[in-house]
Each structure stands twice: as structure tokens, then as C-alpha cells.
């Protein structure tokens, strides 16, 4: 009985295997007969020997105890059906084997047909509920035909389970591959986002640098002339508006308003030499023409092509004659409270830094003025402010403002209100700079 398997399981295992016709995995259905009765083995082999399913025959293996079955199952993970006796080396040796298979070997696919000769030891109702078996047969009722049918059905069920497992594992592989793809894509995205953030940080740093540079230029300006008032209305980013004013040793006053191409750092870098040069040249008494010429040459030499300074330069003589040059900014005005706009100083030359000074027209207007006249200069951000419909504020509206509020103390505030009302919530796109010079001021 049980002594066979216990004496030398390895030995018996080899002996039993010698009986098997072939051992090529996958080509036969392995069926394990576990019973301590040699006769049962003999009869079962007779019944099942010619069982064939799906073109594959069977390989019948025999174990004579639960212990021996464990060894065989350990060596043959692909057993499809087990015909299992209950009472062998112990009362419940077969039941222990079921637990071992399902829970320790973790094999849920092998079909187990419990075949007992003593149903009193293992009542069907209790067993089928408590143990993961697939069929329960009493040896007395199990005819050859019924045995054959039960095993054949079990082989088919095992095959289906195997197919499902293959599909499942294939799906799992696909999911794993797809997950890996997604993970890589995610990594790429994260890297791109980090790169973008780095660019953004650098850009922000450059913009802050540009703002600080321009702020230094503006701060260094001593625009404390009693006859000059001005207002800078910058947008967040340093856009490069520039206003400079200085008095020459002989009393002439020079004012310049400028707007660099582009935004940020390039504009700020351009502003530095222009401010220095402006003060140096005016300080040594140069006139408007040579001032324009030296700033233009400096910029043309030093700025990369494509970067230039649109500017309006005004010289007010001690005789209050205004000499004015405009290269690329909107018209400046001479106006008075009573007569409105009397003179327009329109652009008649290229912006500074585009061509060598020899190619500039130096088309300078000379305007005589009278008491009460004021000069109003501004950057293009003012007239080019756009409302949500894309319409520009324009010179007409500005002239209207000048007529209405021109000489008043709150003129700039009125202009700002008008522009804000016109923008109607649209953001201001460009710096706005305004300056007003009272002529014939005592």
C-alpha cells in the first residue's frame, strides 16, 4: 500500500516513468492516476490508453500514494488530469494532496477527479464544497464508459483553461509592453517639460535683467527740468522705450524719445550706450545734427542688423526756436491751449542704426514758437494701442485729447483714461511714453 512510495520515492518515480511510452511535453495529455490499489491502475490504463483529444494522445502516469504524487507533480507541472483516490497512506491523503496542489503548487488548471471507494470517509457534499475538485465519483458507480467520458471532458476543460491562460498571458505581455511605451513617452514629456521650464526660467531672468538695465538708464536720467513733464507707462516686459533730456552748456535743451526694435534684452542693451552718448555729446555742446549723427553711427556700428532705434530728437534754442528730427516715430506736435495743434513733426528719416550717417537725410524742421506753445512727444505705443476690434487709438483721438485737455495739470492722466477706455479691457501691448515741454518758460 503506502509503503511503496515511502521507501524510495525517487526510485519508484523512475521505475514508473519507464513504463510511459513517451515524455515529450506538449505532445500528449499527461494524466496522473493516484491510487494505492494496483488493480485500479491496471483497469484505468486499459480504459484510457486510446484516449485522444485534439490529435494528442495520453501519457498515463501512476502514483501509489499522496507523497509519490507530490513528487511526480513537482517534476511534471503540465499534468492535465488527476484521477485521485482519497484514502491511501492516511485517511485523507487524497484530500491533503488537493490542498497541496491548489494552495502550495498554486496549480489551479489541473483537473482533479476524485475517485473514492469509501464515500463514508469523504461525503460528496462536503468535499465538493470544501475542496477545489472538478468531479467526484464513487468507484462502484464508475463504469469504463463513465470514466472515459469524465476524463475526456476534463482534458477538454484543461485545454480550454490553457488557451485562456495563453491569451491572458499574451494580453499581459501586450499591456506590459504598452505600459512600457507609455512610461517612456511620459519620461519624454517630463524631460520636455523640464527643458521648457529651464528655457522659461532663463527667459524670465533675461527679461528681469533687461528691466533692471532699463530702470538704471531711466533712474540715471536727471529729467528735472521745470518746463518738462513726462510719464512712462511700461508694460510688464521691458519693451525698450527711452526718454532722455539734457541742457547744453550754452542753455540749449535737447530731448530725445526713442523706441528700440524688439523686446527685452536687445532693447535694453541698446539703451545703455545711447544714454551715455546722449549726455556726453550734449554736455560738450553739440547740436542736434551731430548728436543724431553720433548716436546713429554708434548704433550702426554696434547693433546687429535688424535692431534699430526709432526716435524723435528735439533741440530747443535759447531763442525758443525748435529744431526737430523724426526718424520712425509717430508725429510729434507743437500745440497751444488756444490754437490747438499748430505744427506736426512727422517722420522724414530712417530710424537710427539702420544705415551709416552719410545715408541719412538729416531733414531737420525749424519751427518758430510763441508763448503758450507746448511740445508733445510720445512713443508709438500710444497711438498704436488697439481695442478688441483691432482698431488703433490713432493720431485723431490723440489730437482730440490735446484740444480738450492739453494744457491742464492732469493732461497725462486724461490721456491715460482715454486710452484705457479705448482698450476696453485689451491688454496694453507696448510701452507708452509721453513728454510735454513748455516753451518760452521763464
Amino acid at each position: 500500500m503506502s509503503g511503496v512510495g515511502e521507501s524510495n520515492p525517487e526510485q519508484t518515480l523512475i521505475l514508473r516513468e519507464d513504463e510511459h511510452p513517451r515524455e515529450v511535453p506538449g505532445e500528449v495529455w499527461k494524466i496522473l492516476i493516484v491510487d494505492d490499489d494496483d488493480e485500479v491502475h491496471h483497469v484505468t490504463r486499459l480504459v484510457l490508453a486510446d484516449l485522444c483529444h485534439g490529435g494528442r494522445g495520453v501519457c498515463l502516469m501512476s502514483a501509489y500514494s499522496g507523497q509519490e504524487a507530490r513528487h511526480l507533480l513537482h517534476a511534471h507541472r503540465d499534468v492535465s488530469v488527476i484521477l485521485l483516490d482519497v484514502v491511501m497512506e492516511s485517511e485523507e491523503a487524497g484530500l491533503h494532496l488537493i490542498r497541496h496542489i491548489r494552495e502550495e503548487l498554486n496549480n489551479s488548471s489541473v483537473r482533479i477527479i476524485l475517485r473514492t471507494g469509501q464515500p463514508g470517509q469523504a461525503p460528496e457534499r462536503r468535499i465538493i464544497i470544501e475542496y477545489d475538485i472538478n468531479d467526484y465519483r464513487e468507484k462502484t458507480e464508475l463504469s469504463a464508459q463513465k470514466l472515459f467520458t469524465s476524463v475526456a471532458a476534463s482534458v477538454r476543460a484543461f485545454e480550454t483553461i490553457q488557451q485562456l491562460q495563453a491569451i491572458n498571458s499574451n494580453l499581459e505581455e501586450m499591456v506590459a509592453a504598452r505600459t512600457q511605451d507609455l512610461r517612456l513617452a511620459c519620461q519624454d514629456l517630463r524631460r520636455t517639460a523640464e527643458e521648457l521650464q529651464a528655457h522659461r526660467d532663463r527667459l524670465q531672468y533675461e527679461q528681469e535683467l533687461a528691466k533692471a538695465l532699463l530702470a538704471n538708464v531711466h533712474e540715471a536720467e536727471r529729467l528735472d527740468f521745470p518746463n518738462l513733464r513726462y510719464r512712462l507707462w511700461p508694460v510688464d516686459v521691458a519693451n525698450g522705450d527711452l526718454i532722455l533730456a539734457a541742457r547744453a552748456p550754452d542753455g540749449r535743451q535737447l530731448i530725445m524719445i526713442g523706441d528700440f526694435t524688439g523686446h527685452g534684452l536687445p532693447a535694453a542693451i541698446g539703451a545703455l550706450p545711447v544714454a551715455d552718448l546722449f549726455h556726453r555729446e550734449v554736455g560738450r555742446g553739440c547740436n542736434i545734427r551731430s548728436l543724431i549723427s553720433s548716436i546713429n553711427d554708434e548704433l550702426h556700428r554696434k547693433l546687429p542688423r535688424g535692431l534699430f532705434l526709432a526716435a524723435c530728437v528735439i533741440e530747443v534754442g535759447t531763442d525758443q526756436i525748435v529744431h526737430a528730427w523724426n526718424g520712425g516715430v509717430p508725429a510729434a506736435f507743437v500745440y497751444s491751449a488756444d490754437a490747438g495743434v499748430r505744427e506736426r513733426i512727422t517722420s522724414s528719416d530712417l530710424p537710427l542704426g539702420v544705415v551709416p550717417s552719410g545715408e541719412l537725410a538729416f531733414d531737420i524742421q525749424h519751427l518758430s514758437t510763441r508763448r503758450g506753445d507746448r511740445l508733445f512727444i510720445y512713443s508709438d505705443g500710444l497711438v498704436e494701442a488697439r481695442n478688441p476690434e483691432g482698431e488703433m487709438f490713432g493720431e485723431k483721438r490723440l489730437e482730440h485729447c490735446l484740444r480738450e485737455h492739453g494744457a491742464s495739470e492732469t493732461f497725462f492722466e486724461r490721456v491715460r483714461e482715454q486710452v484705457e477706455a479705448f482698450l476696453a479691457g485689451n491688454p496694453q501691448a507696448d510701452d507708452i511714453t509721453m513728454a510735454e515741454l513748455v516753451l518760452h518758460a521763464t
Partner: protein
Amino acid sequence: MAISVWENDDHVAISVEGRFDFNLHQAFRAAYRNCDGSSTRFSVDLGDVQYLDSSALGMLLLLREHAGGDGRKVALCNCNPPVKELLKLARFDRLFTLI
């Protein structure tokens, strides 16, 4: 596309559409960068430009330099009135051929 380019033997025609501003910087430069500037005439069709800023003027200056600094070789075509006004404000009519 905001920028389209047609090329034949000695002529590159660039067409700009919409807002001509700093955002077109790379695309505009790419339109002519590979042409031999010394032997090519350029035309820039601004007919469909609704807006042009100083960066655009800077880009046109770069094209002019690519063409050897000769304004007769760079034509600005179909400028609508606001665009023409801005080009004249900056006196770019002296640097380019406006047609």
C-alpha cells in the same frame, strides 16, 4: 502657413500672411537663408498682412542685408494702406522698392 515661398532661378517670392511680428522671425529667415543673396532678387508680398511691428521691419532689414544691402533687389509688394503708412513712417521706401 503665415509664410509661403516660391522660388525660381533668380527670384524668391515670399508671401506673409496675418500678423508680421517677432513670432515669424525663424520662418521668415528660413525662407531666404539658403538662397545665394548676391544673384537673387527677392519680393515680399505683404498684401495679406494685417499688422506689422518694428520686429518685422528688422526682419526686412536682415533680408536686405542678405541681398547685399541693395534695396533695388528687394521689392515689397501689395502693401495695404496701414502697412504702407508704417513703412513710410520709418522711411523704408528709401531702403526697399515699394510696388
